[in-house]
């Protein structure tokens, strides 16, 4: 790489590291060789951009380059084999290749249709059909993960691992558990659509859990420790004094396990519940409480 790395990334010499990173990201999305298989020009430009970023993305190296201590070629990256090279090599195994993109080509009994719908070179027999099932799981089983067993129409049973954080309507794929392939082809998959039953306390909001927590008037005024249910058991929460209905507290990390690691949070919205039946002492206090008369929570409405 002999070109000016700033020019390659399309940034000014005084660009911030953030600008450099975002310029590289933009180019990578457009030029990544695996997203442009067969386009040699894109691959060359991607390599150039990567080399430029390896230099300018590292503040220390960038400073040395700016001072002239190292030249642009000092940042050349080690050669790498892209996925496309394996995917396209003759005799490549075809675990990943999908020819579903051809399923609407031609008539079903056209002489070419079998060629297009066949998976890869290696497999000469069609794959069995996918089977679709639906099952219901409890809210907590879906958020925390669970092992379930389902019985198929042919009375065989399947062990099913519900991954933590499973969403309502999410399909789970059991590879090879569908119909056997005709003529010895590979079996299709079983696709199980998971329906999550609602929970009386918890509701799910993405990776977060929300609950509404009733509190007494005394707790609302004085605050104090309250036991709060979470999806992983009860925890003690300190309620601050003077908490109105609608006040929302957060329990960090007590939400749903995210797919890429980490967890969401639990949000607790409090709701003040007055004593039932009404307490005459409380009514007597409110009558004699002069500051209470001056409070107008509807001031924002005017009037």
């Amino acid at each position: 790489m002999a070109n000016d790395p700033y020019e390659t990334l399309g940034v000014a010499k005084n660009a911030t590291q953030k600008e450099i990173q975002s310029a590289y990201r933009k180019l990578a999305k457009k030029l990544h060789p695996d997203l442009n298989p067969g386009d040699k020009n894109a691959e060359d430009r991607f390599k150039e951009a990567s080399a430029a970023y390896a230099l300018l993305g590292d503040e220390e190296k960038r400073a040395r380059f700016d001072k002239g201590d190292i030249d642009a070629t000092g940042a050349e990256q080690a050669a790498r084999n892209y996925y496309k090279e394996y995917a396209a090599s003759p005799g490549a195994d075809t675990r990943y290749q999908s020819t579903s993109g051809f399923s609407d080509f031609g008539e079903a009994d056209d002489i070419f249709s079998s060629f297009f719908s066949r998976r890869g070179h290696g497999q000469t027999h069609a794959r069995g059909r996918d089977l679709h099932f639906a099952m219901e799981v409890d809210f907590l089983e879906a958020v925390n993960g669970a092992k379930k067993q389902i019985t198929l129409p042919d009375r065989t049973t399947l062990d099913l691992q519900i991954p933590p954080g499973t969403q309502d309507g999410q399909p789970l794929r059991l590879r090879g558990k569908g119909e056997p392939g005709p003529g010895g082809g590979p079996a299709g998959d079983a696709l199980i659509e998971v329906h999550v039953r609602p929970h009386p306390i918890f509701t799910r909001d993405g990776d977060d859990i929300r609950i509404e927590m009733p509190i007494s008037l005394r707790e609302a005024i004085l605050g104090g420790k309250v036991l709060v249910p979470t999806i992983s058991g009860n925890v003690t929460l300190t309620l601050p004094p003077n908490s109105s209905t609608g006040k929302t507290l957060r329990l960090k990390g007590k939400g749903v396990t995210k797919r890429g690691g980490g967890s969401g949070d639990q949000y607790i919205t409090v709701k003040v519940i007055l004593p039932d039946p009404a307490d005459p002492d409380l009514a007597a206090f409110a009558t004699s409480w002069s500051a209470g008369e001056a409070q107008n929570p509807r001031r924002a409405w005017g009037g």
Partner: protein, 105 residues
Amino acid sequence: MRHSEFCERLSIEHSTLSIWMEQGWVVPAKNDGRGEFHDADVARGLLILDLSETMGVNHEGIDVIMALVDQVHGLRSKIQALTDAIRDQDEQVQRLILQSLERCS
């Protein structure tokens, strides 16, 4: 290679590999009933890391992209095979196919 070597070569945690396998982004090849990975899977892993780290694509995005990448390779290999098959034909047949293609486009 075994799962541990695969993780080592990509510098990823085992838990990350579990997620990739759950999503079907990488599928170990069956060998004597034991799943193992090949160099092609490592290259695939590098692509997944490029998508998530370099390009900031989230899990949902990777899911879509990997499915499309697999379709593109499926399509490319079929077109390659089709092109090779046409090259095997007599010149007369090749000319007829070319004419037909030019009418289509």
